[in-house]
Chain length 707, copies 2
């Protein structure tokens, strides 16, 4: 059987193709692929299969897969749903490596369709044949002219090869991206649309795509993910190999998520966790299709900035200010020119603003050598990651456009490593002449700056991937059983996993509370310990601020009495005596089990931050401390950990260690854990560590009071 990578390669680079349901009509689903394969100059064998015809579009037609002179590498199935299973069976029997199933009417239509789809899958699985679709728009591989797709977008022209890959669950969306990219003059290597994903899913298509040497950037679209491991692996490989992924993930909203579940068989999962995964692995999540295209176009060359600094050149102050505003939001650094260079610019043009934005005034429009000098100075002396020149509609004039481009090219020689970008409003053919010279061009300044922000994002993500230490090994899995765990048991298990708790003592009913209380020290807290009581406070099972042995003794008796009265059914292990931990910043941490991504670590500040502001963030487990530090800094209330109102900075390093340890424990026990709560977690003063004051582990399948 082929490896997954090999089977995808067979699908995208076949040496022979059968088209089952081939049609003479080039506007029909069964006709279009044949037309595109021939227009694209596909060099492999193409076998139309149609039992009712001798020829299709001038090619000899065959009555069945069985009748073909050789086994086709790939079969494209464009027959009604009812006949598709039989076609798959014939392909499987013949030993075809992969089939592309265009046909709709499967799982997306209900139970009957799902049964048909399942049958098709089991037939294919038995022979090791891979399936793309059903209900998909197919694939193309432009470098060999392989168009296994019926996308009508190709009616107006095929695709020129280039370093962009498209992976899309939705055929219509993938096809739309292809159309928009072609309008912009971009070259694309291949498109894979996965439809119902009965076998090959977006994750696997992405995994294959990011390994292709001719790809620099991927446009992706999904409503959900089927196979978490392959997907995460694809994202990990992508950043290791410096391949940018620009992702449109829909279903953010309530209505959207509802529509997703009615639209495909995919499990949507929590959108907030998708968001976290994208941040964790350096994927850029596009908010709009226009944004997706802008960023992909800019990343196609695979060239990233040396820093996030931006030098802005303008001939009108207002535009420069507008761009500086946008740059701040995008995380770019509009750092001033060096003082000396500013003086030199002032000497050239006294009314200029030489700081940054550099405003050469309307003078520069009429005096291009002056403009060249200004821009050269910015490149030579500003040491910017990006240069952005604002040119408005000036370049729309064909006569001015050429002169301007020449002036910019001359200026650009002053630096080899500053990425050159421009805003202009001009006809496409003029814009292309600038793009051909290596300039990134946008009409809208905001769109340009957002793109540059994304380039910095990728550059930093690739950098992190390059530096990442080998992840610490996961701890051995723990037998958690399926019963609820007491706080004491949970703390013991998590202590062994590296989480710090106060040194506490369990005093069983009838035990020596005074000795334990003295040993722990004062002030202290007493808590009932019982696997059957999850909400200890509600039964009066917690007493805080215990100041001496007498109070401890009284509290001990009171707690046991209340537990016996309120929860006579509960098994009581005793009362825990723990020191009160004062100070520090109150946070919460935990693990949730996402239906798509499995164990996910959650972190947030306590109190109103989590209760009112929902100020929490996520990472899929496991992750290292570098990632934990990024996670911690994502919360809006992060300033609390830096120290506010004169408080000292908190021990964020220890917190990062704790979150990473928690993530490794969660990953090691992924299939045993439903959830973990550490609440509160006190982050003490820098150097003094972090202490979790309570712990709750809910094993997979456990029935827990109140849950």
């Amino acid at each position: 059987m082929l490896t997954r990578t090999e089977s995808l390669s067979a699908l995208l680079s076949p040496s022979s193709v059968a088209l089952v349901g081939a049609s003479d009509d080039v506007t029909r689903i069964g006709g279009r692929p044949l037309r595109y394969l021939r227009e694209g100059g596909f060099a492999g064998a193409v076998y139309p299969v149609n039992p009712r015809r001798d020829t299709v579009q001038g090619l000899k037609a065959y009555s069945s897969i069985g009748a073909l002179p050789e086994t086709p590498d790939v079969a494209i199935l464009a027959v009604p749903a009812a006949g598709t299973v039989q076609a798959v069976r014939e392909c499987a029997e013949r030993g075809t490596k992969a089939a592309i199933v265009f046909t709709a009417g499967f799982a997306e239509t209900g139970d009957e369709g799902r049964a048909l789809q399942d049958e098709m899958v089991s037939v294919a699985r038995a022979s090791g044949m891979r399936l793309l679709g059903p209900n998909c728009l197919g694939v193309f591989n432009s470098s060999i002219g392989f168009y296994g797709t019926f996308s009508a977008m190709l009616d107006t022209g095929l695709v020129k090869p280039g370093p962009i890959g498209i992976v899309s669950q939705s055929g219509a969306y993938g096809s739309h991206l292809m159309y928009l990219a072609r309008l912009r003059g971009l070259g694309m290597s291949h498109l894979i649309t996965t439809g119902n994903e009965c076998d090959i899913d977006v994750g696997e298509a992405l995994r294959w795509t990011v390994e292709q040497p001719d790809i620099n950037v991927v446009m992706a679209y999904a409503e959900g993910i089927k196979d978490r491991d392959t997907f995460i692996e694809a994202l990990e490989v992508a950043r290791q190999r410096r391949k940018a992924i620009v992702f449109m993930k829909v279903g953010r909203s309530e209505v959207g998520a509802h529509a997703v579940s009615s639209h495909t068989a995919a499990l949507a999962g929590s959108d907030a966790i998708f968001d976290a995964v994208f941040r964790q692995y350096g994927v850029w999540r596009a908010s709009t299709t226009a944004e997706q295209l802008d960023i992909v176009a800019a990343c196609a060359r695979g060239v990233y900035p040396k820093s996030n600094s931006l030098g802005i050149f303008t001939m009108s102050g207002g535009f420069g200010i507008q761009m500086a505003d946008d740059a701040e939001v995008a995380g770019l650094d509009v750092k001033p020119m060096p003082e000396k260079a500013q003086e030199e610019l002032k000497a050239m043009l006294p009314y200029a603003s030489p700081r940054n934005p550099v405003d050469a005034t309307a003078q520069a429009v009429t005096d291009l050598p002056l403009m060249t000098s200004f821009i050269s100075a910015m490149l030579e002396k500003g040491d910017y990651g990006f240069f952005a020149g604002i040119f408005g509609s000036g370049p729309a004039s064909p006569t001015f456009s050429g002169k301007l481009r020449q002036a910019l090219e001359t200026a650009a020689t002053a630096s080899r490593d500053t990425i050159m970008t421009l805003t202009m409003t001009a006809p496409d053919e003029i814009v292309r002449t600038y793009e051909d010279k290596g300039f990134i061009v946008a009409q809208d300044g905001f769109a340009l700056i957002r793109t540059l922000g994304a380039m910095v994002h990728f550059s930093e993500s690739f950098e992190r991937a390059g530096k990442a230490a080998a992840t610490a090994p996961l701890p051995a899995p723990v037998d958690l059983g399926t019963d609820a765990l007491s706080e004491l048991a949970a703390k013991k298990i998590l202590s062994e996993a590296g989480i710090t708790f106060p040194s506490d003592r369990l005093v069983p009913p009838g035990g020596d509370i005074r000795a334990a209380a003295d040993a722990v020290g004062y002030p202290q807290v007493l808590k009932v310990v019982s696997a059957d009581i999850a909400h200890k406070t509600e039964i009066g099972g917690v007493i805080v601020g215990v100041k001496d042995a007498d109070e401890a003794e009284g509290g001990f008796a009171a707690i046991l009495a209340r537990a016996a009265e309120k929860r006579p059914d509960a098994r009581i292990d005793g009362v825990m005596v723990a020191p009160m931990v004062a100070g520090g910043v109150e946070t919460i941490a935990g693990v949730v089990s996402d239906p798509v991504f499995g164990p996910v670590v959650m972190f947030g500040l306590g109190g109103v931050f989590v209760e009112v502001l929902k100020d929490v963030t996520f990472r899929v487990a496991p992750f290292d401390t570098v990632e934990a530090h990024r996670m911690i800094r994502e919360i809006r209330g992060y300033a609390m950990l830096e120290g506010v109102r004169g408080a000292p900075p908190a021990d964020v390093d220890a917190l990062a260690e704790m979150l990473s340890a928690l993530s490794r424990f969660a990953a090691a026990n992924a299939d045993r854990i439903d959830s973990i709560d550490l609440n509160p977690v006190r982050v003490l003063e820098k150097g003094k560590g972090v202490v979790a004051l309570d712990a709750l582990i809910v094993p997979r399948g456990a029935v827990v009071e109140g849950h």
Copy 2:
């Protein structure tokens, strides 16, 4: 002397124009206006002034303003800075109503230029002549072909009249907007660029523009505002008359604000307060130029939706989900179709998703009557404010485009009051054919939805303006003096303005503390009262939790002793005894004096909300309780006031009354107040009111300890 409105009308609709510095070269600043005036068919008299020529561009030239056969209504000055003052003097002497000064080299270049500008202004003021500029790009009024501008954008074509006005401080930006709007086929009534604003500013230009009956929407640009009252009045008139203003205000960022101050003479003011003013008066603040154009194009007809509900029609699930996601962010309601209508759609096409987004699948592409039925049903039965159809690149095909448009027009007859919108990627000429039929068309779904969100924003703002009650009268101004006020004095003044404080008592040194303490009730708080001590806690001047008369007596003595020791210089009025107010939600309110907008009321939640999250909001004073309610709901932590963790809802009505009262007090004493702090303000349980626990008033010019 002309009123301000009359003088603007004279500027925009002159019956005669002189062009001083007229040039034969139509590419020069002195040549372009003459060319445009003639190409535009301006019917008034045009007098080129150029002492060195007999004719200019074929017209008789005059040697000076004085030599003209009549007094021109408007003079356009295109002469070097040095000669401009003299030209203004001649115009003033001749009785010209207004002059447009193109020339740069005035206040924007430094002290010398500022002096020249001031001289020019004083000459004009003396005669009542109005000035536009200097350093501006002029004006146009397309309906009479009056082009008093040298914008090179007009080289490629003039402007067709239409319901859009442009008001821009920056000539380059205003001109760019004109260019982009023309590219989209939009008609524009007029452009006013104000440059250095030595006389006419953006506010006045806006004030005039929103009064013009042929204007539905205004695109505006500013870096700052010179005259607060005119500006606010313009915004107020705009919403009363249902004129939408789409504003690009730059200088949000630190670098941007720095560039503003170096770019123009305008005082930038706080950007956060600009933001608040825009929200308060229903202006839409555009984040990007593309957004500004999109919204202006959609609002040009002056038609707004009946509700914020949106029916989405798609032929591909993914696009519908993407749009539903965007709609949620934009505040639109993607409400489902009525159950019965859903069943009818299902009956028509079993694989359809009939809820909303309504997905008619690719079937609808080939079966246009089916599409018509689906869309008709949505319009008839969905009762949507907006309909949005997603059509991708289908309409790019000229043959399909016509059929689709016809099908949509037929469907659209099913409703007269749903605003019809479409997304498509097609050549401009095809898009125009849809726009001509009344469809709002966008390429990008996100851009479309953002536009629809803005239309709802305007519709709601116009509605509020229509309903606004007469604002309660301002209280009489209070003599605050210029000395710092004690807490007691501040509370007395603010109590009279309608702010509630706990009933407290002042006990002077030697006074009967026991009697006062008993009268106030326990627990209570004791605070030193001295106009010289702003930070009472720092000297130990506050004791909380006083439980009986003995404690009160001891505390009284202790406070007076500490004050005498730590601040022997301070005048001590005594000690205030006030009841402790428990419960409620802690908030803060205050007044700051913005350099541009004057007294501005600030509101926020207390504690971490303000200290860590800077979760505060602003309104310019005065405002009514309706506006106060909007203000209160803007803070991120608003849920705190609705009641969290089982707390009862807080008395938001009383809070709104208090903020409105504070705003009226601030407005009445605008020139007497530097700042007011009410911190904390406890918002008690619903029905129980709101109590300010401390008050600080800093009169204008007062020197306050620690400030």
